[in-house]
């Protein structure tokens, strides 16, 4: 019969198994929040250190990724936002979304033009979104979290998650469509 692992080893094994596996996700989100690799690295490292210190308060079996992202976002707001990006000056809730589909319905209803857009351009277009939209879109569309978890992480009601996601997706789509038109991947609808 195997002897049970000593508590320190068990703690470490649990953290490796449930938290460290989300390193890629944390790094992706950190990059989109800070906008540069050095700050993203530091933010992720700080998040992991804070998470390990607080590991005993994490409830086993709940969503570790959402828990880690909450820590990451708090660290970002408290220590990085002021110096990495300027606070938003536009009222994001008043942004009127523009729908791309009616424009491409005739020529490319399946959105094949998206495939010609390179990764870097997609990331640039996401980085150009207002922060409230960018973080919502990244948590949903890149990291696959549900509305409730996103609401908890961002500390906003589910209805706000929904409306931000709607505007964020439409804005991103419009930005990438403009780029695709410029590059000649698709012709702008006449009229």
């Amino acid at each position: 019969m195997a002897t049970p692992a000593p508590p320190a080893d068990a703690r470490r094994a649990g953290f490796e198994h449930e938290a460290l596996v989300h390193l890629d996700a944390l790094h992706r989100v950190a990059l989109r929040l800070t906008g540069n690799a050095a700050d993203a690295d530091d933010l992720v490292q700080e998040t992991m250190l804070k998470a390990y210190r607080a590991w005993d308060s994490y409830q086993q079996g709940t969503n570790a990724k959402a828990w880690l992202l909450t820590i990451l976002r708090h660290a970002f707001i408290n220590e990085y936002r002021r110096r990495t990006r300027r606070p938003e000056t536009v009222d994001v809730e008043t942004i009127e979304p523009f729908a791309v589909f009616p424009d491409v319905q005739q020529e490319d209803p399946q959105g094949a033009f998206f495939d010609r857009i390179v990764d870097e351009q997609v990331l640039r277009a996401i980085d150009a979104l207002p922060e409230a939209f960018r973080e919502t879109l990244v948590l949903s569309d890149v990291e696959g979290l549900n509305y409730q978890d996103i609401g908890r992480i961002l500390d906003v009601p589910v209805g706000t998650v929904k409306s931000r996601l709607f505007r964020a997706r439409r804005l991103l789509q419009a930005g990438l469509y403009e780029y695709a038109v410029e590059m000649g991947y698709i012709k702008r609808k006449a009229g």
């Binding site: 390193l23 490292q45 209803p109 399946q110 857009i117 990331l123 890149v142 509305y147 929904k162």
Partner: protein, 74 residues
């Protein structure tokens, strides 16, 4: 359910955030309405495209080594 109602629920439908009853209604409408089905497919393509493009890169291996060193002192 009419087109406006179905399109209002489009993202929640794709995100699997609707109650089973409303989801059934949307599905029924999409089955009967080709333009709405086409728009739903377009939006789904877009969401899959964003995820695929953004998940291509992971954390640098050096960062992982640095964090493990900091956490466990090795």
């Amino acid at each position: 359910m009419n087109c406006d109602e179905a399109l209002d629920h489009l993202y929640e439908f794709l995100d699997r955030e609707l109650t089973p009853e409303v989801e059934r209604e949307v599905r029924k409408h999409l089955h009967a309405c080709a333009p709405c089905a086409q728009e739903t497919d377009f939006e789904e393509t877009f969401l899959k495209f964003v995820q695929a493009r953004c998940r291509a890169h992971g954390a640098p291996p050096e960062l992982k080594r640095r964090i493990v060193r900091e956490l466990f002192g090795e």
